[in-house]
């Protein structure tokens, strides 16, 4: 049933390193099994897109990587998500979800800046980690805003409320907030679905510049977006990983009939 060829694409790229291995992974909302026996390897420094129709479990899967599901009762993981090079299973009982969230950043569907100043938004991740030196905060905030292509627009208004920014700027601010703490992986949960086409383009451009610096996992309901930004694409359907491989292969010659149907717009 499940086409498990997670490493087929990777073998063609001998220089690549694996950032995360997902092994025999299941996820349950109470009694409902939302993800079924997922196996895949995610390449370091690359952009991996998760696509599939609504309710296929792609967002659920994404939120397992920073254990967001631990915030709510009744959720259960089975199997492993192993991070390299330290071979830590993020789902292990002795791994605190907070430790995981220190390593994995997340950008949400709707821009969600805190009702604080632009500066404080970006600095918050550092403050959580105990950094309080003004000079360090200022340096890191500038660096993060630069990396998120927001510095030029924001440098003169660092102490204004973040809500004065436009939607696209707010989303870049949320990306800067993530980048400030140098995460190993960033999760994007449909980051442009609340944005207009111009803001969407700027976010996609930004994701492109992050390639090679950080491992990116992005959920998108737009196949065009997956094709534009990602190196690898995974197609999910009804909680299963149907097909996973290089984006070019998935879109040009999908192996599975269901992937082909979805990509060609026959359903979804």
């Amino acid at each position: 049933m499940v086409t498990n060829m997670p490493n087929a694409a990777l073998q063609t790229a001998p220089t690549s390193t694996i950032k995360a291995d997902i092994r025999n992974f299941n996820f349950f909302y109470g009694d409902f099994q939302a993800l079924k026996n997922v196996n895949m390897s995610i390449e370091e420094g690359r952009v991996t897109a998760l696509i599939g129709p609504s309710g296929c479990g792609k967002s659920t899967f994404l939120r397992c990587f920073n254990r967001m599901h631990d915030l709510y009762p009744g959720n259960r993981y089975e199997g492993e998500i192993v991070f390299h090079p330290d071979n830590t299973n993020l789902l292990a009982a002795d791994v605190d979800p907070i430790e995981v969230r220190m390593r994995v950043g997340m950008v949400f569907q709707k821009p969600n800046p805190f009702p604080k100043s632009i500066f404080e938004n970006v600095a918050y991740g550092l403050r959580v980690r105990g950094e309080s030196k003004r000079s360090v905060l200022e340096e890191k905030v500038e660096q993060a805003l630069n990396n998120a292509a927001l510095w030029n627009e924001a440098k003169d208004r660092l102490h204004e409320p973040a809500y004065n920014l436009s939607g696209g700027q707010q989303q870049r601010l949320c990306i800067a907030r993530c980048l400030a703490t140098d995460p190993e992986m960033i999760l994007f949960d449909e980051p442009t679905s609340a944005l207009d086409p111009i803001a969407t383009a700027s976010i996609e451009e930004l994701i492109d510049t992050l390639r090679g610096k950080v491992t990116i996992l992005i959920v998108t309901h737009s196949m065009q977006q997956a094709a534009r930004v990602s190196d690898f694409t995974a197609y999910m359907y009804l909680g299963e990983m149907i097909e996973y491989g290089k984006t070019d292969d998935i879109f040009v010659k999908p192996r599975d009939k269901r992937t082909e149907d979805y990509i060609t717009g026959k359903f979804g």
């Binding site: 950043g105 805190f114 907030r177």
Partner: protein, 307 residues
């Protein structure tokens, strides 16, 4: 296809809209019942009481002669009791609300607690008075004091503050909360840096509404034994022999505004009725002022919160 009968449609819409007008009038009438009653009360009390209110009314102790009687001991007593109530109810109520929303696991036990808190808000205040008489006055030996009264009223408004805190926390969008946790915040960091600051306006509104209710309470205060006639003031807080003496005021006998009013209304002389109206006017004014403050605080703080 038949031509649309516009005349018929218009008649029908007109007919249906009659109910709109009828309900609008009915609703307005219902609203007026409440508003006009309050207004009539205020005007009546104001007309009888306001001429009596002068500087002396606030600076004189109660007296057997109505013209000399004032509300000094009553408003000082009310202020001090409110101070104790606030000091006890605000931290406990907020902490309980935060715990229930952010820390407690959702299970049958927290469900029972939740139902009970809502029920506690509906318990008649005299029952709190009886509880306080047994617990604070006799068991803890706090006496018929400002401390006992303050703690009693604190118990009374605790459910109001807990419910307001929970509502305020729940109104924070889930994505803001998730944003904080996604950056690796612990529960305490999320509560301290985000949840409390963003829910302050809602919590303060609840606190002030609770306090406005407490300041008008009479029954539980009478039950624990407030005096109806008192011609001296408690020691000024913080004075007295330190350290223990500084808290002497807590154990002082006292009276409060509604009791003073009650005392005056039960006198036969007309002049005391005027005094009661004046005291009532002051009390209503205090309550309205507190509610006004709540509205203003909510308006000011919400202006800075957009999501």
């Amino acid at each position: 296809m038949a031509l649309p009968d516009t005349a018929a449609i218009r008649t029908m819409v007109q007919k249906h809209k009659r109910y709109d007008h009828m309900f609008a009038i009915l609703g307005l009438l219902c609203l007026m019942v409440g508003l006009l009653t309050l207004l009539a009360l205020l005007v009546d009390m104001g007309m009888r009481g306001i001429p009596r209110i002068d500087w002396g009314f606030f600076t004189e102790f109660p007296s057997r002669r109505a013209a000399n009687a004032g509300i000094l001991s009553a408003w000082v007593g009310s202020a001090l009791v409110m101070l104790v109530t606030a000091a006890a109810a605000i931290p406990v109520g907020i902490a309980a609300g935060v715990y229930l929303e952010e820390y407690a696991r959702k299970n049958w036990f927290t469900d029972i607690i939740e139902i009970n808190i809502s029920n506690l808000a509906g318990v008649p205040s005299i029952v709190y008075g009886l509880l306080a008489l047994g617990l604070f006055v006799y068991q803890f030996n706090l006496g018929q004091s400002i401390l006992s009264a303050g703690l009693t009223l604190a118990l009374l408004i605790l459910p109001v503050i807990i419910v307001a805190t929970r509502e305020a926390i729940r109104s924070i969008p889930g994505q803001i909360r998730e944003g904080a946790y996604a950056l690796g915040a612990t529960k305490w960091q999320a509560v301290h840096d985000h949840i409390l600051p963003y829910s302050t306006s809602g919590i303060l509104t609840g606190v002030i509404i609770g306090m406005a209710r407490a300041i008008g309470e009479t029954a539980p205060i009478i039950t624990i034994g407030a005096l109806t006639f008192i011609a001296f003031l408690p020691p000024v807080p913080g004075t007295g022999e330190p350290p223990a003496g500084m808290f002497d005021w807590l154990f002082s006998p006292f009276t409060v505004m509604p009791i003073q009013m009650f005392n005056w209304t039960s006198r036969p002389e007309e002049a005391f009725q005027v005094n009661a109206a004046a005291a009532g006017f002051v009390l209503v004014f205090m309550t309205l002022a507190m509610n006004g403050l709540a509205i203003w605080i909510r308006y000011r703080l919400r202006k800075n919160l957009k999501w």
